[in-house]
């Protein structure tokens, strides 16, 4: 009797079944939506990865092209074709003597004479000086 009373006071069976079916449909629908979302995102990730790889490869190819264009041999040939050539260095004479840096002074192999002008007679370069009269060597011409 008690069981019968409970059954009477509960939801009708067809409503319970309807709710259950509705929940089932909702579940599958949500799963479908989520699966679709995952699939779309997955495709996007795949495409993005492919694009990233392609860009990496393109970047490597461009870097190679730039490096090849900037190769020393190629640059030297271009410079030569444009009329550039190696130039001997020209040192300008100094008006005043430079004070040697302290640590440099300690490294000197030749002792500086008392007057501090020249440590040793300047070396002569019989063969080289003859070919390089334009080099001032830090001295007033």
């Amino acid at each position: 009797m008690a069981g019968l009373r409970k059954r009477k006071s509960g939801f009708p069976t067809h409503i319970v079944v309807a709710v259950f079916v509705a929940l089932l449909i909702l579940f599958f629908w949500l799963q479908f939506l989520v699966a679709q979302e995952i699939e779309t995102l997955g495709r996007q990730i795949l495409e993005t990865n492919r694009e990233l790889e392609r860009l990496r490869r393109e970047n490597a190819a461009l870097e190679h092209a730039i490096c090849t264009e900037m190769a020393q041999e190629r640059m030297a040939q271009r410079a030569e074709a444009m009329g550039y050539a190696l130039h001997r260095p020209v040192y300008l004479p100094l008006a005043e003597p430079l004070a040697p840096a302290e640590e440099e002074q300690t490294r000197l192999l030749l002792p500086l004479p008392a007057d501090g002008r020249t440590a040793a007679p300047p070396p002569t370069f019989p063969d080289t000086q003859a070919h390089s009269p334009d080099i001032a060597l830090g001295r007033r011409p």
Binding site: A71, P97, D127, G138
Partner: protein, 583 residues
């Protein structure tokens, strides 16, 4: 009734026995099913799971990027680009005609040929290998069913043959050989990763996150001590020297003597590492670390160093040179076959006298003399970080092939074999106050840490040992300055004090020394009081003159002159504040 009862009893029994049979078959069937379930779910579960995974998944290797090699100024010297391998699975090609016409234009092949491949009764056919980047990308963009496009990394060297020997090569199997590529192969290659993805019945990956993924670990980038501008200076001047002096081959090494860092290393003839397969195999080895030669007079600085450091001689020690000296039963003569009378040790080095060298080695004694050779690293690997280094050859007293006369001949660089890297390192020790450094070419590693960021790991210079004392090194430096000022004048650069030594070595053959061919060399460093660079020039079989002073010394000068400018080293008077523009 009884007649009726009997058949009923029989029917019941029959029915019962039928039910028993049926029950038996049902139980048996159930047992079989349970048995199979146990078999599939328990006994063979692991194997079947693996089979199922293998059927629906696909594991692909993700190759690691090989680290780039950069020069001291971070300019790429070796890097990876991509080429493509194009292949097809004919079974999966949906429209062979259209696909063939699309591919033929891109691959530059006849349509009929491509069509034949696409319709071949095979599971897989290669269409083209080593297709260039733009074509490969275009074919991949077609997204044609059944067409497989695989990008493959290819090592390229934008500077061509400029760094060929120093860098080495990477073969088709992506294995590095020779030079930096060979020595640092493991560091550069990185570690390949893998990715396992699920695939659909056609074989295309399903766009869901991978089942399993281990990302590749890229190889470390290497930053070298080598400066491509200095390398180019050395290359140009060496090439000019080979042309001018008619030498067969040659090498130039530039090093920072204070640290042992190699600033340039060139050998000619060279090869294009981008097409190394076409090159002569003999050219692939780096002569700077692999080729030995009898150094000749250039070696005398080591002998003088030993004599000075043991106190056997001083720069002013005198020796009467009558033109010959007998050591161990062998008569040693000077290069000019003349006697020079009373000479000091300084004079002996300036005039490069073999008799004086033999006098020093014999006076020093064989044990101390060979001990100093070891201290300067002769006959030992320098452990430079370049592949295929040779140890040179030094015969020691006690060896079966050592003769007493070798104490004399070794003193001026005969009967001994060294590699250019050994020789320059030994002389660099003199420039570096007697401290022998380990030569090196990699200044820093750029490695990826666990969080994916990049960090730089610097390489510190490494001192090996004090070969000679600081005082000895400075005294010897002054003697070497005299060599350049009075002897090898063609090595001079106006305004700079340079310490150096020439060498003219005879070439040993199976029948004694070659009558005319020589190996000319010069090693020098500058500025003498505070060396910033040391240069070794070696020219093999020069034709215009056999002498190092006439061929290698001027080559040194040409290089040094440009290095002074490039490295911004002012002339000595300016640098030391001695001129001050006095009239």
């Amino acid at each position: 009734m009884s007649a009726n009862t009997e058949p009923e009893t029989n029917d019941a029994e029959m029915t019962f026995s039928r039910l028993r049979v049926l029950a038996f078959f049902l139980v048996f069937g159930l047992a079989v099913v349970i048995g199979q379930v146990v078999r599939y779910q328990v006994i063979e579960a692991h194997y079947l799971r693996q089979e199922a995974i293998a059927q629906r998944t696909w594991t692909e290797e993700i190759p690691a990027t090989r680290g780039a090699i950069l020069d001291a100024r971070s300019h790429p010297l070796a890097l990876d680009v991509y080429q493509w391998d194009i292949s097809a699975s004919p079974d999966l090609v949906s429209d062979p005609e259209e696909t063939a016409s699309a591919l033929a234009g891109l691959l530059g092949q006849p349509v009929e040929e491509v069509y034949a491949k696409l319709t071949a009764p095979q599971k897989w056919v290669p269409l083209a290998d080593h297709v260039e980047q733009s074509v490969g990308e275009a074919i991949a963009a077609l997204d044609a069913p059944g067409i497989v496009c695989t990008p493959k990394p290819l090592r390229v060297y934008p500077e061509g043959d400029l760094f060929a020997h120093l860098l080495g090569i990477v073969n088709d199997m992506r294995i590095g050989f020779y030079g930096v590529e060979g020595f640092y192969h493991q560091t550069l290659q990185g570690k390949a990763g893998h990715r396992t993805v699920e695939k659909d019945p056609i074989g295309n990956p399903i766009p869901i996150p991978p089942v399993e993924e281990e990302p590749p670990q890229p190889g470390a980038q290497l930053i070298l001590t080598v400066d491509r501008n200095i390398q180019h200076i050395a290359y140009e001047e060496l090439r000019r020297a080979l042309e001018t002096y008619g030498a067969e081959s040659g090498s130039v090494v530039v090093m920072d003597p204070r640290s042992g860092a190699i600033l340039a290393s060139v050998s000619l003839p060279s090869y294009d590492p981008n097409a190394f397969a076409k090159a002569d195999m003999k050219l692939l080895q780096d002569p700077v670390v692999s080729s030995m030669w009898e150094p000749g007079s250039i070696f005398k600085v080591i002998t003088w160093g030993a004599g000075l450091d043991t106190g056997t001689i001083s720069p002013g020690t005198t020796f009467y040179d009558d033109g010959s000296l007998e050591v161990g039963g062998r008569v040693i003569r000077n290069w000019d076959r003349r006697g020079h009378g009373l000479v000091t040790m300084s004079d002996g080095l300036v005039q490069s006298l073999n008799t004086v060298a033999a006098f020093i080695s014999t006076s020093t004694g064989k044990k101390p003399f060979y001990n100093y050779l070891r201290r300067f690293g002769m006959g030992q690997l320098t452990e430079v970080d370049l592949a295929s280094e040779g140890p040179g050859m030094v015969k020691l007293p006690g060896d079966s092939n050592w003769f007493p006369s070798e104490l004399g001949t070794n003193s001026f660089g005969q009967g001994i074999a060294v590699t250019p890297i050994q020789m320059i390192r030994a002389v660099a020790a003199i420039a570096n106050d007697g401290m022998l450094m380990k030569p090196y070419v990699v200044r820093a590693f750029v490695v990826q840490d666990e969080e994916g960021g990049w960090r730089t790991v610097p390489v510190e210079p490494m001192a090996v040992r004090q070969a000679i004392t600081r005082d000895t090194a400075r005294t010897l430096t002054e003697m070497m300055v005299r060599v350049v000022e009075e002897g090898a004048t063609e090595a001079q650069v106006p305004g700079y004090r340079i310490a150096g030594k020439t060498g003219t070595a005879q070439i040993p053959t199976p029948y004694g020394y070659h009558p005319s061919d020589t190996i000319a060399s010069f090693v020098g460093f500058a500025p003498a009081d505070d060396p910033r660079f040391i240069v070794l020039v070696k020219l093999d079989r020069p034709r215009t003159s056999p002498w190092g002073s006439r061929t290698a010394a001027p080559t040194f000068r040409a290089i040094a002159r440009r290095l002074f400018v490039y490295m911004q080293i002012p002339p000595d008077d300016v640098r030391l504040g001695r001129s001050g523009g006095q009239p």
